[in-house]
Amino acid sequence: MSYTDLSVNIGKLHLKNPVLLASGTVGYGNEISKFTDLSKIGGIVTKSLSLKPRKGNPPQRIVETPSGMLNAIGLANVGVEAFIKEKIPFLKELNTTIICNIAASSIEEYVECTKILNPVDTINAFEINVSCPNVKEGGLIFGNDLNSVGRITEMVRSATNKPLIIKLSPNVSRISEFARIVKEEGGDAVSAINTLVGTSFDIWTRKPKIKNVTGGLSGPAIKPVALAKVLEIKRNVDIPIIGIGGIMNWMDTVEFMIAGATAVQLGTVNFINPNAGVEIVEGLHSYCEKQSIQKLSDLIGSFQL
């Protein structure tokens, strides 16, 4: 292997390489660690946490679609308290960056979660999920409302000095406007994208295949959309971008970085190849060698139009 420098910085957050595992697709790290060496990747983003535990949506929660899948897990999670008690001890030993993802039903809940989690040393950064399409408390989907996203960023910012990443919804006309308000309100980076709203029906029963009716579309099917969103942000707002959506291999990772991503997250691919993260890190090394790239970070936003 070469000595290429794969490290990247997301604001003040230093990652040894740009490969993160996405929230909701790696649990709290323990199950996937049986298949892969988490110390070799850039970091993991924990399943979205809420203040209280959530049991999530009734089955059926997932369905396969052409080159993708729909999910409506409903943010099933153990809640912040159990997370600190039961999950942090394991995460602490992983020797990788831990980004804690928070999803809440109100601005107050976001702030409260952040305050409780902030003192935990093991947590290196926060990712705020304003964009989960599968929970509807309060009726409002924050992620599609510019003011809400601004306000959440501002309030959470005032609750922590750790790197703050806002995970954006793709289900909007101009995602760059959301990135801009994140930047203005002091966020350090944006993650793009969360899942696209989708659905699917059984033509014999006429019932939705997913009990929640709609779910979030992920996987290779959405990669072109995700890339376009990353590119749109890159061309309009000066803020680090974590690219997400349909990444299956190192080629996809390079593509996202060319389009403007500083780092990437792997979601659906973890279900199919839980060792994908490590394989991608290896693939990035040999790509850089072939292309005589000394610092992988030179690739970020290096598109030639």
Partner: protein, 252 residues
């Protein structure tokens, strides 16, 4: 747990749409237990995207056997595999049947392709256990007997064996083993499992059921495979906490 690239040794038909697949998979073979399953990537490309879960059917030294029905595109691709093709198998996954302990008679209850996990279970059952197997199918063209012991058959149309479903057949035979210490092992469609759950609870018989659900990962990271716990106030994950549950633990 392993991700093992496994060479196909052979594949053969048991019925026109039911296959038995033999693969060389020494790592998984050395660890897997009856009732556990593997999550199989049926193609080298990204299509179909997700793995497909299959129960372990039999272990023969360093070889695994899977028994499967052609259902949709994924199982069709699997059925077209040929000797020396390599498939990517993730396993062993889930818990298995708990077949040790103090009972004299193992009742096997299989609905259709739900028979898949039982050849291995029967292999592994201690010699001192009596085994009675029940298989329920739609008609005599759907009957699978592979790996069964003391087999009684029911068909919906009565074209062979008992006319009715497999739970009715078991009930009709209940007097036979009423006074023995029995443990039921069941796998099949949900309505069957439900009927058997009621039957076993009513008659206070130990009963283990192997359940199914759509799955993405198969090992606990996607939360895609919930099943209601008995109280209905929370979920188990079928892939991690199951697929085998004590019938009293879950709400079907």
């Amino acid at each position: 747990m392993y991700i093992e690239k496994s060479r196909v040794e052979w594949i053969k038909n048991l019925l026109p749409d039911t296959f038995l697949l033999r693969v060389y998979s020494p790592l998984i073979a050395s660890k897997i237990k009856p009732g556990q399953f593997c999550n199989i990537k049926v193609s080298e490309s990204d299509f179909p995207l997700l793995r497909r879960p299959f129960s372990i059917c039999e272990v023969d030294g360093e070889f695994l056997h899977f028994m499967f029905d052609v259902h949709g595109e994924g199982t069709k691709i699997l059925s077209n595999k040929q000797k020396d093709d390599v498939i990517d198998i993730l396993g062993p996954l889930g818990n298995g049947f708990n077949y040790s302990g103090d009972y004299s008679t193992a009742i096997i209850a299989a609905g259709g392709i739900g028979i898949a996990p039982f050849p291995y279970l029967i292999q592994k059952l201690a010699d001192d256990k009596k085994v009675i197997s029940f298989f329920g199918g739609r008609s005599k063209n759907n009957v699978i007997e592979y790996g069964m012991k003391n087999l009684l058959i029911s068909t919906d149309d009565g074209s062979i064996g008992f006319k009715g479903n497999v739970v009715q057949l078991i009930e009709s035979q209940y007097s036979q083993f009423r006074n023995e210490s029995v443990r039921i092992f069941a796998c099949g469609p949900n309505p069957m499992l439900k009927a058997l759950q009621e039957f076993s609870i009513k008659n206070n018989i130990e009963c283990q059921i192997s359940t199914e659900s759509a799955m993405a990962c198969g090992f606990g990271i996607c939360q895609g495979c919930p099943i209601d716990n008995a109280d209905g106030d929370g979920y188990y994950l079928i892939c991690k906490d199951g697929p085998v549950f004590d019938a009293k633990m879950v709400r079907l």
